[in-house]
Symmetry: C2
Subunit: 352 residues, 2 copies
């Protein structure tokens, strides 16, 4: 299937199913609307899946790993080798995302889509190798990726969505690992929201004020050198993006095409979500914004898409950690919808 | 034990343990502080329990049920009989709190502390009968409870804390059911925060504008008739409070005395928390504020105690529903602290 045919298969979520879900919600033993956003989550799940009694019994968090040539500019507090080291930490179950995915009853799928270096022959259900590039090029000196590589990254995400739907997964979450990847995410945010680089650039994993100023300059240089076209999301992703951001955009497109809900993690994931949304706005109905990240540019991305985050816990780790936690809230909403007694069943009087 | 001796046994949470927890958090494979409030939750749990590796394996949500004489004034959208009907819904597992407590792995304990009417001989692990009164008196016409009844309600909460600690429970949450109980909660809020009644009175389960104006007048009448002393929290609770609010205050005091963390649900629960806090400010360190309720007065209560809510999901159901969901976030924080690999264990490089 070409990307065009996949995109044309994406529909708006189903309002009739949402209405049906609302009727059930209003029959349950609680004042109408008193479970607030939990009720909205249930309604959205029914509208997405077109199933009056959806299930979320298999959940996957996709943690896309990729390296960034721009790390050579000294924009991160951590050395580039950490991307690879963390991939092994994910596979061994010791990272934040492993702990929180277990807590949420979700499986972690680590995807090597752009790690710089040979990871060897890894045999693990938690790992898939779909390497498109060995790290991006340094975007301060030229485009991060070619257009062809970029489309391949998107295709990887779309294909993974198809594969994991076939494996029985009912809900996806996005996550990522890539030293320096707040830098391309800020570049994407600046280009696509029109905000200044200063406004939407944060301190990533923890750089100091001086390094932050340098990071801002690097992002400005990358944008003025590459001149990405804000009206062409694939061009933006190619010139100032990254492989894992492309994979996330593709996963979202694939989820929407399969009528599967997808939970968007923090800043970097939402940069991928904005790319997906600009490619096909109908994808928005399939998205849940997990949380309000501490990274400066995240709010601008959420506003641009028009998503309200579920959690606000001062997180800034990425990996999919906020998305795993948000899955617990979304599932709570679904359980309310499916498991609560109605006024009639429980012989409880209604409003006077 | 007298209330005085219990209160004098409450200590501040342990800063040395908090420091020890911080050291471990900073050794885990993530940028320092990048898991935000999750890290704070873990630290607070260690400081509360004085245990470097605490466990939350047994959790209880206490849903205190009580009726209110002021319901006769037409301040609620639902008839008074719903309090009893909902008690049976709780026992049968069909209410919102049942669904969300199951989701959080917590047991529900329904406490009849002040229901108006004989509930019969209920045999259920999910129910305890500790009836102090059969509903409060109508506070528009006189004090809701006597001082003696009020102290008994607090004692019920303290005793339940002791009992459930002995049963092996490691974390408590508060919840309540009581038709009309936003009315006494607003009265407590007005008296103890100094805000106007209009500012802190909401629409409860869903009254219209006209009924809201009437509710405001009823609260004003109750306050001016009873003249509760803001410096005496037991007096406020007696004159314009309710049995379930007293039970919640007592449970919090008992939790603090036992060094057990306690999650405070929404508006009514936080009215109970403010009573506990005004009786003994050291109880604050044992509290987690579950969520930011839709009820107008909740924010004023949280600010008065100085608590930042964990969730913001537009909830306004009560029962303990927000607290059950917040337990999942708190437990997520603890799992991060206990289960993540350190930089050394995972051979991941630190900051450059």
């Amino acid at each position: 299937m070409t990307l065009e045919s996949i995109l044309s298969s994406i529909t708006n979520t189903n309002g009739k199913f949402a209405e049906q879900a609302q009727n059930r919600l209003d029959s349950l033993t609680k004042p109408q609307g008193s479970l607030g956003r939990l009720e909205e989550f249930a309604k959205q799940l029914v509208a997405i899946t077109e199933n009056p009694m959806p299930s979320l019994n298999k959940k996957a968090v996709f943690t896309f790993a990729g390296d960034h040539g721009v790390a050579d500019e000294g924009v991160s507090a951590f050395p580039k080798a950490v991307t690879q080291q963390m991939v092994f930490n994910f596979i061994n179950g010791g990272a934040g995302i492993n702990v929180l995915a277990r807590h949420a009853g979700a499986d972690v799928v680590v995807v090597d889509i752009g790690v710089d270096g040979d990871l060897g022959n890894i045999k693990s259900d938690a790992f898939v190798s779909r390497k498109v590039i060995s790290g991006t090029m340094n975007m301060r000196k030229g485009p991060a990726m070619t257009r062809e590589e970029t489309l391949k990254c998107i295709a990887v995400g779309v294909e993974l969505a198809d594969e994991y739907v076939k494996k029985g997964y009912k809900i996806f979450a996005t996550g990522e690992m890539g030293i320096a990847n707040t830098t391309p995410s800020s570049a994407i945010t600046a280009v696509m929201t029109g905000k200044t680089v200063e406004e939407i650039t944060g301190k990533g994993t923890g750089i100091n004020d001086e390094a932050w100023k340098h990071k801002v300059q690097v992002i400005k240089d990358a944008i003025s050198f590459n001149m990405p076209d804000p009206a062409d999301p694939v061009d933006v992703l190619a010139k100032v993006g990254g492989a894992e951001i492309g994979g996330i955009a593709g996963l979202i497109i694939g989820a929407a095409a399969n009528k599967v809900p997808i939970v968007i993690d923090g800043f970097i994931s939402t940069a991928g979500a904005l790319i997906a949304y600009m490619i096909e706005p109908k994808t928005k109905g399939y998205m849940f914004a997990a949380h309000n990240s501490q990274e400066a540019g995240h709010k601008a991305l959420l506003e641009k898409i028009g998503l309200r985050p579920i959690l606000d816990l001062d997180l800034r780790l990425g990996e999919g950690t906020g998305a795993a936690l948000a899955m617990l809230m979304i599932e709570g909403g679904l359980k309310i919808y499916k498991e609560m007694a109605t006024f009639a069943e429980a012989s409880v009087s209604g409003k006077e």
